[in-house]
């Protein structure tokens, strides 16, 4: 009898139990989707959806490849799906939502506010490349694989993102 099994054991991905996977990679996934969609509720939903999708598709993960890059790819695609869905259901784009505010007790500095606003001004691909490199420390090769593009294109998007951010934050960073 042949059963379709995941790359590892039934309840494991890349050698990690489901809860271990969340513990280890939650921050990376959440940071990415938070900066991509710019609001807390969508970020929470997208991050959870990313892990649920990863668990459901665990048989497609190839053991030995970068698990974090695989998760971030699922997260990026989930964001693009959500954005498409929102575009078809309402006129206002996600970027038009209120600017992020930090809860009391957190570092609500001017720099953070400016940086968040500046990141939101980047186009989607630039934002993703910038976040995957600065937040998740993916190499340009891994970013290229995650976004299904070439390494050169990923580097070019990074150059554009850094250039625009430098211009917007000129003299304030």
């Amino acid at each position: 009898m042949k059963l379709n099994r995941s790359a590892d054991h039934d309840n494991r991905i890349g050698g990690l139990a489901f809860d271990e996977l969340v513990e280890l990679h939650w921050d990376s996934v959440y940071r990415l989707v938070y900066h991509l969609c710019g609001n807390l509720h969508d970020a929470q939903d997208l991050a959870q959806e990313t892990f649920v999708k990863a668990i459901a598709a665990r048989s497609s993960f190839k053991v030995g490849t970068n698990l974090k890059a695989w998760l971030l790819r699922i997260a990026s695609n989930s964001f693009l799906d959500l954005r498409r869905k929102k575009k078809t259901t309402r006129a206002a784009p996600m970027e038009a939502e209120p600017a992020v505010t930090f809860p009391d007790g957190m570092q609500n500095t001017e720099l953070m506010q400016m940086l968040t606003a500046a990141i939101q001004q980047l186009d989607e691909t630039q934002r993703m490349v910038f976040l995957l490199r600065t937040q998740d420390d993916l190499s340009f090769r891994e970013i290229a694989q995650t976004l299904e593009t070439t390494e050169e294109t990923a580097r070019w998007h990074m150059l554009q993102a850094r250039r625009r951010l430098m211009k917007q934050l000129e003299g304030r960073i």
Binding site: V22, A47, L159
Partner: protein
């Protein structure tokens, strides 16, 4: 390297503060205040990004952990391979088929219209003279219609016609010896079909034929001969008829023995039954004190 080239290299770099892989750029940044400032600003931006607070992260993580832990506790659903499912389906089909074969293994085939005609003839043979007409008319028309509509081989259709005529004849002929002789003809026709069943190793046909042979010999021949004996002394003409019946019975016994020797074990059980019937009939006739 001029400033424009250096700044582009910084913006394209993996790490805007580490140029060890590009000594020329590292030298330019060290010597150029403007390019050094760009490198520093990008580094500060990267550091700020790394320390960026994530509102709602803890709540989202807790909710996600709760959800994924419920997956771990849930029994894993087996996703069966299509080949496995196909094999199971094939086994079920084979199993059902085998079940049907086994269920029907010892069951005789349902009676055909020919069988019903033989049964009807045997009933006519058994029926008292006063009830002959009632037995005949009760089923004659239905059987005739069935023969007309049934899909029969030429051989079976010929036998069916003979049986219908035989039934008609029995209704108007009450002489037991004549009737016995008619049934003796009929038993010969059945024996021919038993021979065919042996050749085809057709166990179900043999079951049906053996049963009918027993009815015809016992009720048709034996019953009429018993009535003849009870009625009156045997005339010389009837003696000849009796001799013919006895001779035919002896032939049938011999043929049945030969068929039994040739038949497969599955058919022998039925043939032995027919052979016993034939032997018993021969013994009864000899017991009546006649030498044939």
């Amino acid at each position: 390297m001029n400033c424009q080239e250096a700044q582009e290299a910084i913006l394209l770099s993996d790490n805007p503060a580490d140029f060890t892989s590009n000594p020329e750029l590292a030298k330019h940044v060290t010597e150029c205040a403007a390019c050094s400032e760009i490198s520093l600003q990008l580094s500060r931006m990267q550091t700020a990004m790394a320390t960026f607070p994530m509102p709602g992260s803890a709540e989202g993580k807790a909710a996600t952990l709760k959800r994924v832990r419920s997956f771990e506790m849930r029994p894993r659903r087996l996703i069966l391979h299509p080949m496995f499912l196909s094999a199971v389906a094939a086994l079920i089909v084979v199993g059902v088929g085998l079940g049907i074969v086994i269920y029907n293994f010892d069951r005789p085939a349902p009676p055909t219209v020919v069988d019903r005609l033989i049964d009807w003839n045997a009933e006519l043979a058994d029926a008292p003279a006063t009830q002959q007409s009632a037995v005949f008319s009760a089923r004659a028309a239905v059987l005739q219609s069935e023969v007309h509509d049934a899909s029969l081989s030429d051989d079976d259709r010929e036998l069916a016609s003979a049986l219908l005529q035989h039934g008609n004849w029995l209704c108007v002929n009450t002489d037991p010896i004549d009737r016995a002789e008619k049934f003796s003809d009929l038993s010969d026709l059945i024996l021919i079909r038993m021979h065919r069943a042996v050749l085809n190793n057709d166990e179900k046909a043999m079951q049906r034929l053996s049963l009918r042979y027993d009815q015809v010999v016992r009720a048709g021949i034996g019953g009429n001969l018993a009535r003849m004996k009870a009625n009156a002394a045997v005339s010389p003409e009837n003696t000849k008829k009796l001799e013919r019946i006895a001779k035919r019975n002896a032939d049938q016994e011999r043929k049945l023995q030969l068929l039994n020797d040739r038949a497969s074990k599955a058919l022998q059980k039925e043939l032995k039954q027919a052979l016993e019937t034939s032997k018993k009939q021969g013994k009864n006739m000899r017991g009546q004190g006649r030498v044939f």
